[in-house]
Amino acid sequence: MNLSRLLHDYELARVGAVTRRHFLQKCTTGLGAMWLASLAQGATPKPGFARPAAEPLAPLPPQYPAKAKRVIYLHMAGAPSQLELFDYKPDLARLDGQDCPASFLAGKRFAFISGVPKMLGPQFPFHRAGKCGTWMSDRFPLLERHIDDLCVIKSMRTDEFNHAPAQLLLHTGSPRLGSPSLGSWVTYGLGTENQNLPGYIVLVSGGKTPDGGKGLWGSGFLPSVYQGVQCRAKGDPVLFLSNPEGVSRDERRRVLDAIGDIDREQFGQHHDPETVTRIAQYELAFRMQVSATDAMNLAREPAEIHARYGTKPGAESFANNCLLARRLAERGVRFIQLYHWGWDSHGNTLQTSLKDGFADLCREVDRPIAALLADLKDRGLLEDTLVVWGGEFGRTPMRENRGGQEMKFLGRDHHPGAFTVWLAGGGAKPGFSYGQTDDVGYDVVENPVEVRDLQATIVRLLGFDHHKLSLRFQGLDQKITGVKPTHVIREVMG
């Protein structure tokens, strides 16, 4: 190794650091003092969230006794059509092919629809399912076997009609980048039960990462130890987790001890909470070298389980991720976030056609979701694992007519006014359907549920009043639900 180059880099880094430090020291009565004051204020956890500094992921009890202890969130990025899955609209079938009434279009903005689109009836047959009689289409035949465990919310609303901001709003409470995600808030509030794995794990099923980007699992102004850790389905579950060739585990331990000593000294001088995060992350990575590799190893599952989920060894597939989610839930991981992709059924290509690509996606996720629910139930885990399924918004009852032209395939545009989300387990009311949309599924007419209401309800199922799961930052008690009036939907709590 070229020592002189290393020394040169070190000197550059040192000069940079000294300059910044000098600037702040010189400004103790000005900018620097203000910055320090804001830091001191920002770092104060509320009663109930106090932990030893060195154990930022130590578990804490929830505010109230709670049914749900962990969350598996199955996000269908692109936004699946509620009108082809759960929101049955026979009147829309009758209107199929007719011009959309002007009243639907006045004052509305669409991502692609222009001029006067045609109404588009449901593309698949519906029926009442299970003992509860919840309506659903024929697209999820295996999930249907769990319908008496699902709590289907048909009256979701959002403020955003483009993917990235809508995903950010759903997962972080703000349509802009920089706010902590739900999983971060939950791991901040509850810590995690397995100190050898991250408390918040993100699994993306190949293809495309969600439009909202990694900010969807960011920690915002919470310490970065609470951000989601994206794990890969093949190779090292986390990049660079294994020791480099020629470095033994003992050697790695000695290196970490030395770095830890330096970091602790640094923390003693500057009290930057990010230093603690750094120490904790190194230690977690060291423990994960053994435990994460085991947890993420699907080869340890028997063949009958693979046949149930429809997994494919080595693939980054949704089925593999559902099985991983079950393995992680068993190991006490607090928040497991799955992203599936491709649900943006505009009808401009075969892949986004309701009759083709959409139907393929339904087949692709039906089995692993059904297997996951069944598996959680077999193990007693569904009692305290809250499973959430849904997209970031809904789709229009009108057929998309991009540029005012009839398109090659059948598809629907983005629609923030109504969509469906379902909950299962973790204290959600089983075999229940909540909220109604109008006769064509355009607007919510009964029991509207805003995104923040859903967040508050998830947080309540985990044992927190959403006002209490907060942190003071920039002079405001920040929380996932923001500042608008928010309602916990007690009707969907079992």
Binding site: P47, L57, P62, Y64, P65, E304, R308, E364, G380, P485
Partner: protein, 358 residues
């Protein structure tokens, strides 16, 4: 529109219907109530002050969490009649004889979605009958001495009123256990946890992440061995014995415990949830679980238990969910009507060909 105006327009509750010309039916209802439910007000309840009997319990259940002894938001304290009469920092909340002019009722009768509605939308709401009782009491002068009889409640309302104190007491009690912990007093919590505190801390160090209190204020404990797998065995389980009176949830699934753990498990008599799937436990352990009389959920999936265990399991008085998937006891448990659900193997048949992937 002024707030009072809005409140009036929103506040016209539908009148209680059906009280005229139905004397025979009402008498019948009364008789049935006397015979079956004991809900008809006794003479001493009718003669009692309506404030003590009805109004204070309503306020206690619906308002004093934020406007009471502990907290006086807007300087309003509704836990005494004097506080109610005195009003808030915005002025009186009640005008004797005029329910429509009383801010208290105006705010309660606003649509729940209104920003000024009370109680806040995410808190439990008073029932229509409770609001009507408040209105009638204010209408009759809102004095602390006016009796229930003097309110001259019409029949359906009188019947509801008779059962109300008990119902509201139950609500207050339930809130005390769960939902009214806004004022979380660390020192009182510490006191209730004190006897075991040192032991809990010691075990939390020994088993990182595994042992936790049920809530900010509860002394009850949950333990999960999820992080430890087979390294957690009978000796480790025995180390939890000092927690036997506080442990309510125990998850030792996928651990190395065996039938030698049975005497330990048998002593955790407060358990509501016990998960021990994929362990070496068998019938010998189940035979010793008969004393877990609070057990609501038991998971023994993937263990060696046989149908012989069902005799014991069938007698657990609180059991609501039994998981025995993948054991020899699965089919017999279904046949014996034990609370088992269809297992994954039945719900999701294996795939015939690999899933289509992109």
């Amino acid at each position: 529109m002024s707030m009072a105006g809005r409140a009036r327009s929103a506040g016209n509750l539908p009148a209680f219907q059906g009280q005229h010309g139905q004397i025979a039916r009402a008498t019948m209802r009364r008789l049935v109530a006397i015979l079956l439910l004991g809900l008809v007000p006794a003479a001493n309840e009718i003669a009692a002050p309506a404030y003590d009997q009805l109004i204070a319990p309503i306020l206690r259940a619906r308002c004093v969490e934020c406007h009471g002894e502990q907290k006086q938001k807007a300087k309003l304290a509704l836990h005494t009649w004097e506080g109610l009469a005195q009003g808030s920092d915005g002025g009186p909340v009640m005008v004797a004889g005029q329910p429509g002019e009383s801010v208290l009722l105006q705010r309660v009768r606003l649509p729940v979605a209104d920003e000024d509605h009370m109680p806040p939308a995410d808190r439990p709401q008073p029932t229509r009958e409770e609001i009507e009782l408040l209105a009638r009491w204010i209408e009759r002068g809102a004095s602390p001495s006016v009796t229930v009889a003097e309110l001259q409640l019409p029949e359906p309302l009188a019947r509801v009123a008779a059962g109300l104190p008990a119902k509201l007491d139950a609500i207050v009690k339930a809130q005390g256990q769960a939902d009214t912990l806004w004022d979380f007093k660390p020192e009182e919590v510490a006191k209730s946890r004190a006897p075991l505190a040192a032991k809990v801390t010691e075990l939390q160090r020994r088993f990182p992440g595994a042992l936790n209190y049920e809530s900010w204020t509860s002394p009850a404990l949950h333990f999960t061995a999820a992080a430890f797998g087979r390294e957690f065995g009978d000796a480790e389980l025995a180390a939890l014995l000092p927690l036997r009176d506080e442990l309510v949830v125990l998850d030792v699934s996928n651990t190395g415990i065996s039938d030698a753990a049975a005497p330990t498990l048998a002593q955790f008599r407060q358990l509501r949830v016990l998960r021990a799937g994929f362990t070496r436990l068998g019938d010998a352990t189940v035979a010793q679980l008969a004393g877990l009389r609070r057990l609501e959920s038991l998971s023994l999936h993937g263990t060696a238990i046989s149908p012989a265990s069902l005799a014991v399991l069938g007698k657990l008085p609180a059991l609501q969910a039994l998981r025995v998937a993948g054991t020899a006891a699965e089919q017999p448990a279904q046949a014996a009507n034990l609370p088992v659900a269809p297992s994954a193997a039945d719900l999701v048949p294996p795939v015939e060909r690999p899933n289509k992937t992109r």
